[in-house]
């Protein structure tokens, strides 16, 4: 990958997806189990 910016943008996107996924899917699942 040539652009460092592009790499950082991708990393930020991945972080955002991860955070939303945890809040939207994983945490409700854990709370459901408790």
């Amino acid at each position: 990958m040539k652009s460092r910016w592009a790499a950082w943008l991708l990393a930020i996107w991945m972080g955002v997806v991860w955070a939303v996924y945890v809040m939207q899917v994983i945490l409700p699942k854990i709370q459901g189990k408790i």
């Binding site: 990958m1 040539k2 460092r4 592009a6 790499a7 950082w8 943008l9 991708l10 990393a11 930020i12 996107w13 991945m14 972080g15 997806v17 991860w18 939303v20 996924y21 945890v22 939207q24 899917v25 994983i26 699942k29 459901g32 189990k33």
Partner: protein
């Protein structure tokens, strides 16, 4: 209720029989593979294609026996003996092989061990007794019925008995020789087989580093893991769709020899013989083959001819027996044979192009809206990588992207059930594996941030897998009886168990509560309401009138049953004899079994003690 068994001995026996069946598949498939003109294959590819062809041959052999009315242990056992013995008798030239050693780093080995661990978890989960709606409503129930009557007849009260059932044929062999554990293992095996196919394809076209990551991305898709322990057919469909594309890409370049499309045609036949959705794969690859071979009629004839020869039998059977090759769908097109089925009820988040564009996000973030199966966020995370200027090798990347996109659009127009998209997941895994390896190859610090996000998801999904498997361990290890386990974990079991133990076999029972018929005792005469519902509506008969005319001894209803049933039992003197609630998150079902006073008087409810509880 003949198939209730679990425990260490059952597991060992089922695993042993699976190994024998797979051994037969590899032997026979390798012989068949020898008849194809193929480029030089790697050893793993020979094994993969052989096992695929062998399992396909077993399905078709069982179909033949079923249609001929020879569904006995002796006949099926003889069929398997032929699969073992035929390679001794027939000599095919044998596919050329190349052995290539791959050097795996310590990290690679650790990843491979992780994959084996996940397969083992799924294996254990597959050894528990069967549960699940579609599994018990038809994937296992219809083979059970075929075995009961000894042949594969049209079962007019069901909607599925004429569907393409290649994988269900393997389930039928499983039920015949062991039970549900072997049947479920026949679906589980497609989980590691797809991972292997993904690995081998990526290794052939991109490299071994990418290959391992691609396999990891597929295996860590929770929907694939969840499906692998149920006797469904989504993984087998995904396997044969993927192999169809694999075989399509295999010759490389722009082949125009008809022989180059033969293996692809056979695997497409396997896909359309597995599930009706396989027809989409066939249509797309037909168009792609036509474009690539410039509408060479010989190429298209061989490709489509082999597909229809291998998978068309199911459609012919349906056409002959019910006047509709895709019964009961498209009934208005096929002379009214069949009826309308709304497959997409309450599933998905819209049908327009906006919904399609948001589909990757929505499926990752709102799995409940798509049938509850989780695709996970990994593919979504790597979507932007599509726009990066990677230097990808030639035509096969383009072909795979076109197929994946077109097949996704096709599935989107049919249904938004997430488990159907497991057929797309191996292709997404290929893209993700290749993109991820490129990202990890860069020097920027950003890669550590990306690795952290992916690593965290892999860990969370492993946690989900371990958690999912937890409930299977006690019954697989024999600490809980299968019957007790099913009472706790299967909604339909308690009702059927009550009927078997406490209702006299000559009593007439009406099941107005359950679509999961697999555990219905074969000793009793049970009419299942969902099976006669369409017929009653077509004939314009009211449910209350039907119940009155048939004068059932027992009627089983739940709070999701047609209200006409509860009205009927209350106004015709039926008395509740058994009740139970069952929670399947997020729903709780309240079930009641009512008995007519005359069978209480005639003591046909065999255990009054239970009756007194109510």
């Amino acid at each position: 209720m003949e198939y209730i068994a679990a425990g260490p001995q059952v597991s060992l026996y089922a695993a042993l029989l699976l190994i024998l069946a797979l051994g037969a598949a590899v032997r026979f498939g390798r012989m068949v593979l020898g008849f194809f003109t193929l480029p030089v294959l790697r050893r793993g590819e020979v094994f993969l294609f052989s096992i695929a062809l062998g399992l396909l041959a077993q399905s078709l052999g069982l179909l033949g026996l079923g249609v001929a009315g020879l569904l006995s242990r002796t006949a099926v056992g003889a069929l398997y003996l032929i699969f073992f013995a035929a390679p001794f008798l027939v000599r095919a030239s044998g596919a050329a092989q190349a052995v290539e050693s791959v050097r795996w780093s310590l990290w690679d080995r650790a990843m491979a061990c992780g994959l084996v661990f996940v397969f083992f978890l799924a294996f254990v989960d597959a050894l528990r007794p069967s549960t699940g709606v579609d599994a018990l409503a038809y994937h296992l129930y219809i083979p059970e019925e075929f075995l009961r009557i000894g042949r594969m007849d049209f079962l007019p009260l069901t909607r599925e008995s004429l569907w393409p059932f290649n994988t269900e044929m393997l389930f039928m062999a499983g039920l015949l020789f062991q039970g549900t554990a072997l049947a479920q293992l026949f679906h589980w095996i497609f989980y590691p087989l797809i991972a292997m196919a993904v690995y081998l394809l990526v290794r052939r076209f991109y490299g071994s580093k990418q290959a391992l990551w691609a396999a990891v991305f597929f295996v860590m898709t929770p929907a694939a893991f969840a499906q692998s322990s149920y006797p469904y057919v989504d993984l087998s469909l995904a396997f044969f769709v993927f192999l169809s594309v694999y075989a399509f890409l295999l010759p490389g370049g722009s082949p125009s020899r008809a022989g180059d499309y033969a293996l692809c045609g056979v695997f497409c036949g396997a896909a359309i013989g597995t599930k009706l959705l396989g027809l989409g794969c066939f249509g797309l690859l037909f168009l792609m083959a036509a474009y690539r071979a410039r509408w060479n009629l010989k190429v298209l004839g061989v490709f489509a001819g082999l597909t229809l020869m291998v998978g068309g039998g199911w459609y012919l059977r349906s056409w002959v027996l019910a006047g509709n090759p895709v019964y009961p769908f498209f009934h208005s097109f096929f002379g009214g044979h069949g009826w309308f089925i709304a497959m997409d009820q309450n599933v998905g988040m819209g049908n327009g192009w906006k919904a399609f564009l948001l589909f990757p996000w929505n499926t990752a973030m709102f799995p409940v809206k798509f049938g509850g199966q989780m695709i996970g966020p990994l593919f979504l995370m790597l979507v932007p990588a599509l726009f990066y200027p990677f230097r990808l090798p030639r035509s096969h990347s383009r072909d795979m992207i076109i197929f994946t996109l077109a097949f996704t659009i096709f599935l989107f127009t049919q249904s938004q059930h997430m488990r159907f998209y497991i057929a797309v997941a191996p292709f997404l895994a290929v893209g993700a594996g290749v993109a991820w390896t490129q990202i990890m190859g860069q020097t920027s610090l950003a890669r550590y941030a990306s690795a952290l996000a992916v690593g965290a998801v892999l860990l969370m999904h492993t946690g989900i897998y371990v958690h999912r498997t937890q409930k299977a361990w006690p019954v697989v290890l024999g600490k809980i009886e299968a019957r007790d386990w099913l009472t706790q974990h299967e909604r339909s079991f308690k009702g059927f168990d009550y009927i078997q133990k406490h209702v006299a076999p000559d009593a007439k029972v009406f099941n107005g509560a359950e679509v999961r018929y697999f555990y219905a005792p074969l000793t009793h005469r049970i009419v299942h309401h969902p099976q006669i519902d369409v017929g009653l509506k077509k004939a314009g008969v009211l449910l209350g009138d039907y119940l009155k005319k048939n004068d059932f001894d027992c009627i089983w209803i739940s709070d999701s049953s047609d209200p006409a049933m509860s009205d009927f039992v209350k106004t015709h003197g039926y008395q509740p004899v058994f009740e139970y609630t069952f929670t399947e998150k997020p729903d709780t079902f309240y079930n009641q079994i009512y008995a007519h006073p005359r069978i209480l008087a005639a003591e046909k409810i065999l255990n009054p003690a239970l009756t007194e509880k109510i």
